[in-house]
């Protein structure tokens, strides 16, 4: 059936089964390839988007459950004031190795810093431990979050 969702500020209508996960709607129906498939089980965080500002595993979110909640993806982060800073920090500190997980990392980091502008190491652990980086770029991910927190 048809669902109209708000993605990065724009209304988009798709005609799909209600149990289709948001991840696949974004990637294959709306051609937004930034959110990644990693595990299909909410275990790796590569598919993380914001639903109503909350970091959400889009592979575990059925399109029928989204309703009118605004969705933001990595493609929309340049117009998110915090997201933009996170992207800049990731560039400045050369955070990515292979880069496959980094969209999810940036979405989780942006959600964290939006609520907690000056996170402790424990805050970072709690907010970011759902995002696997198989290359283990964790030292720079942590530094990237702190870089944003410490910037004026």
């Amino acid at each position: 059936m048809a669902y109209t969702i708000e993605v990065n500020g724009a209304k988009r209508t798709v005609d799909v089964d209600g149990d289709m996960p948001l991840l696949w709607v974004l990637r294959d129906e709306l051609d937004l390839k930034g959110s990644k498939y990693g595990c299909g089980a909410g275990l790796c965080g590569a598919c993380t988007v914001h639903v109503d500002g909350e970091p959400t595993r889009s592979c575990q979110t059925a399109i029928s459950a989204v309703g009118t909640a605004p969705i933001a993806t990595i493609e929309g982060m340049a117009s998110n004031p915090v997201g933009k800073k996170v992207q800049a920090a990731w560039m400045a500190l050369d955070v990515p190795q292979c880069g496959y997980c980094q969209a999810g990392q940036i979405m989780s980091a942006t959600a964290l810093l939006s609520k907690t502008p000056h996170p402790t190491d424990q805050d970072i652990d709690a907010a970011m431990s759902g995002n696997v980086c198989r290359c283990c770029s964790y030292t720079r991910i942590r530094a990237g979050v702190k870089h944003v927190a410490e910037a004026k």
Partner: protein
């Protein structure tokens, strides 16, 4: 170690005079350089030779506006070569990095030489040749300027993409010179003048990854992001038992499901020739208008399998066989020095221990996938290939079409770690796409990926070590039980070299091997075989150090002795490849210093440091791990210090540091929780809940230091990994008195 074979290729000392450089004017008047260096020998990551006479090349375009396009020849899987290799050319070409644009080179091994991501080979095999490519381009640009000004080329100099003639005050940009430079005689790469490294402006700088902007904004970049008009999506259900065949399947019922375009049985026997280790296997393909629909239809799939002989294999059974082997003598001798039996009998102290490491999955984050399109008799594939050349050949063989009719587009890979050296996913996608007659993207689920890997082989080691009255190691034996076929290890990942350290330093030594017959696919995983042998040997040496009552660093230093070369092949010394005890001493001493090793006894109860070293992929690494073990047995990783010697030049310090940190944390993640177990011929684990990758809340700080030595630069994708596992286990022993002899670490054993 044995994963590399070519000293000449590595060190550029034998660039043939036949080495040629072709130049041509490209569309738009730019200068194109295409260098071909013959006579280079490579080795695959798994140790097999790729053949003599392959060539290396690089490709440079300079447009009239001064933009310099440099092709990066090898696949990028997170190891940083797409940034690092072009840096080498840009340095000698003498252009400003801001003017450089980088393109992934197309697969063309006739022009570019071997294009693989494996064996930490990119640096040693390309550093010198790519410098020469850049220098040759610079020489042609200078010649063009000198000719125009009617001055001697020797009186010209270059800087940041401009040729200067200081005497007359004239200057001209590379962009303006490019067309004319392309008509200049081609310099001899073997004698072209290289820069004095003291004047380097790009090499040695921290240069960020060239794809970072696309990565952080979520632009399509990876193979999984490829899309084409009319593209369909596929899943491929393979037999859970390795080597199993399809008897029948409910194809008609699947075809009737919503969104399904087609479904069909694939029989490996139909493929040509179907015998490659990574060749097509039996299964059922479902092709649908979206991946989600294809994967959903799969839930309704009913397949009758003929599971075949591997169905009786299990990890438990393997362990029982290993125990049986261990009770007897090894089937094959790998090395024998002196009289180990007598030496053990006469030793003051004998230490005996059995070690085990499990099968491991690569768990790349981007699951295997490939987009394929067959049109006009030609197959085009887009894939995160680590080894696109063999991939091209596999696709051609599988389809029974000429190699020239297979075009491989190499995308950035979402991790590799050795998994994508195999090209099975490319063969599958190509087969399905040709059958369907439309562009098809095949994507594996996480379960597919974990249950159809080429696993790091498990292994069993049975050691005896004899110490004399002074605490010196005088005798060592190891009965290694590995996996294979017909009594031989299945591939080099399952082998132990006769020179495995500390061979050649112990007067009485015996290495022997027995082989368990099995049907589980295996292959190279980051630092193949070193990732396993480092754990067992550096852990057992630690046991011996403690038994001798010696400081583990001092015990290792005594074993290394005076700086000298331990030949990899008897009678064939190779000073650039053989184990250099002096280089290892230096990194060991340095890691002791930076980790404050001598004050480790001041650490609180339950916290301790452990040390280990390992030489692999031409890199010398010594590492110290500090860990805290709680009364419940829980392990907290406090800190890692890693010191490496990879020669005289760190090309990109930002990338180098990243590789060392990543490799060390990767090894710690494997040690803490990862294993693949086999039951009834199939893999038990299916996702990250049962094979946990390391997460940020577990990741300690990793301090990275490099010792520079006067040796050619070598690679960093792998050598920092092997020592970290034993360093952790040795720290756990120091903290608890409990020795970890089996991976992953069972924290139940560490309870106070």
């Amino acid at each position: 170690m044995a994963t590399m074979t070519s000293q000449n290729a590595t060190h550029g000392v034998n660039l043939s005079r036949r080495a040629i450089l072709r130049a041509s004017v490209t569309v738009g008047g730019g200068l194109a350089l295409q260098a071909i260096l013959p006579g280079v020998v490579h080795a695959a990551l798994d140790g097999s030779a790729a053949g003599e006479g392959a060539s290396i090349s690089a490709y440079v375009r300079i447009s009239a506006d001064g933009v310099v396009t440099i092709l990066s020849k090898n696949p990028e899987i997170g190891q940083g070569v797409k940034t690092m290799l072009p840096m080498i050319i840009a340095e000698e070409l003498d252009v400003a990095w801001k003017d450089v644009r980088i393109e992934q080179a197309p697969l063309n091994e006739a022009t570019f030489g071997r294009q693989s991501a494996g064996g930490s080979n990119s640096t040693p095999t390309n550093y010198d040749p790519l410098r020469r490519v850049g220098a040759a381009g610079r020489q042609m640009l200078v010649a063009a300027a000198a000719q125009g000004w009617n001055v001697a080329p020797e009186d010209c100099e270059t800087d940041a993409g401009v040729v200067h003639h200081r005497k007359s005050g004239r200057s001209m940009s590379y962009g303006a010179l490019a067309a004319k430079a392309a008509t200049q005689p081609v310099p001899d790469l073997a004698t072209v003048k290289l820069k004095d490294p003291k004047t380097f402006k790009i090499i040695g700088q921290r240069i960020p990854g060239v794809d970072n902007a696309k990565i952080v904004t979520g632009q399509p970049l990876f193979s999984i992001d490829v899309t084409m008009p009319g593209m369909l999506h596929a899943v491929f259900e393979k037999c859970p038992v390795f080597g199993g065949k399809v008897t029948s399947a409910n194809i008609d019922a699947i075809k009737a499901l919503p969104g399904v375009h087609d479904a069909f049985i694939i029989r490996a026997s139909e493929a040509n020739p179907g015998k490659d280790p990574d060749g097509l296997v039996d299964g059922v393909a479902i092709v649908a208008k979206s991946w989600w629909m294809a994967n959903k239809a799969r839930e309704k799939l009913e397949i009758v399998w003929d599971e075949g002989p591997t169905a009786s294999h299990s990890s438990e059974g393997f362990a029982a066989q290993a125990a049986k082997f261990a009770a007897g003598p090894p089937a094959t001798s790998l090395r024998r020095d002196g009289d180990p039996a007598t030496a053990l009998k006469n030793a003051t102290k004998v230490v005996e221990a059995a070690y085990f490491y499990p099968f491991l999955s690569h768990i790349v984050l981007e699951p295997q996938n490939c987009t394929a399109h067959f049109a006009d008799g030609k197959m085009a594939v887009w894939a995160p290939a680590q080894n696109p050349g063999p991939g091209q050949r596999l696709v051609a063989k599988t389809l029974g079409i000429p190699e020239k009719d297979v075009v491989v587009h190499v995308t950035r890979g979402g991790g590799g770690f050795g998994r994508r050296l195999q090209s099975d996913f490319m063969a599958e996608a190509a087969w399905i796409a040709r059958k369907v007659g439309a562009p098809v993207k095949l994507l594996w689920s996480r379960r597919d990926d974990m249950q159809h890997d080429f696993y790091r082989p498990a292994g069993f080691h049975h050691f005896k070590g004899g110490l004399d009255e002074k605490g010196s190691l005088v005798a060592l034996t190891d009965h290694f039980v590995t996996f294979g076929k017909d009594g031989k290890p299945v591939n080099s990942s399952a082998t132990m070299p006769p020179t495995e350290f500390p061979a050649q330093l112990v007067p009485h030594l015996d290495y022997g091997q027995s082989v368990i017959e099995f049907g589980v696919p295996t292959g190279p995983l980051r630092a193949p075989r070193s990732n396993a042998l480092g754990f067992v040997f550096q852990s057992f040496l630690d046991e011996l150090a403690h038994a001798a009552g010696k400081d583990p660093v001092e015990f290792r230093l005594a074993l290394l002795g005076e700086p000298r070369i331990l030949p990899g092949t008897p009678g064939k010394p190779d000073p650039l490849r053989d184990f250099n005890t002096g280089r290892m001493r230096d990194v060991l001493l340095r890691v002791a210093e930076v980790s404050d090793w001598k004050n480790r006894h001041r650490l609180p109860k339950g916290t301790a440091k452990g040390v280990a070293f390992y030489y692999s992929h031409l890199g010398y690494f010594a590492e110290v791990v500090q860990a805290t073990v709680s009364a419940t047995g829980a392990i907290k990783l406090d800190h890692v210090w890693a010191v490496g010697d990879v020669g005289r030049q760190i090309i990109n310090p930002a990338g180098a540091e990243h590789q060392v940190q990543g490799a060390a944390l990767d090894g710690l993640g494997a040690a803490l929780g990862q294993a693949v177990t086999i039951e009834n011929g199939r893999v038990v684990q299916a996702n990250f809940d049962s094979v946990p990758p390391l997460r940020i809340d577990q990741a300690p700080q990793v301090d990275v230091h490099f010792v520079t030595s006067d040796f050619p630069p070598t690679g960093l994708g792998e050598p920092a990994l092997p020592p970290v596992l034993p360093a952790l286990c040795n720290a756990i022993f120091a903290a608890t008195g409990k020795r970890i002899r089996s991976l992953p670490i069972d924290t139940q054993l560490l309870k106070a």
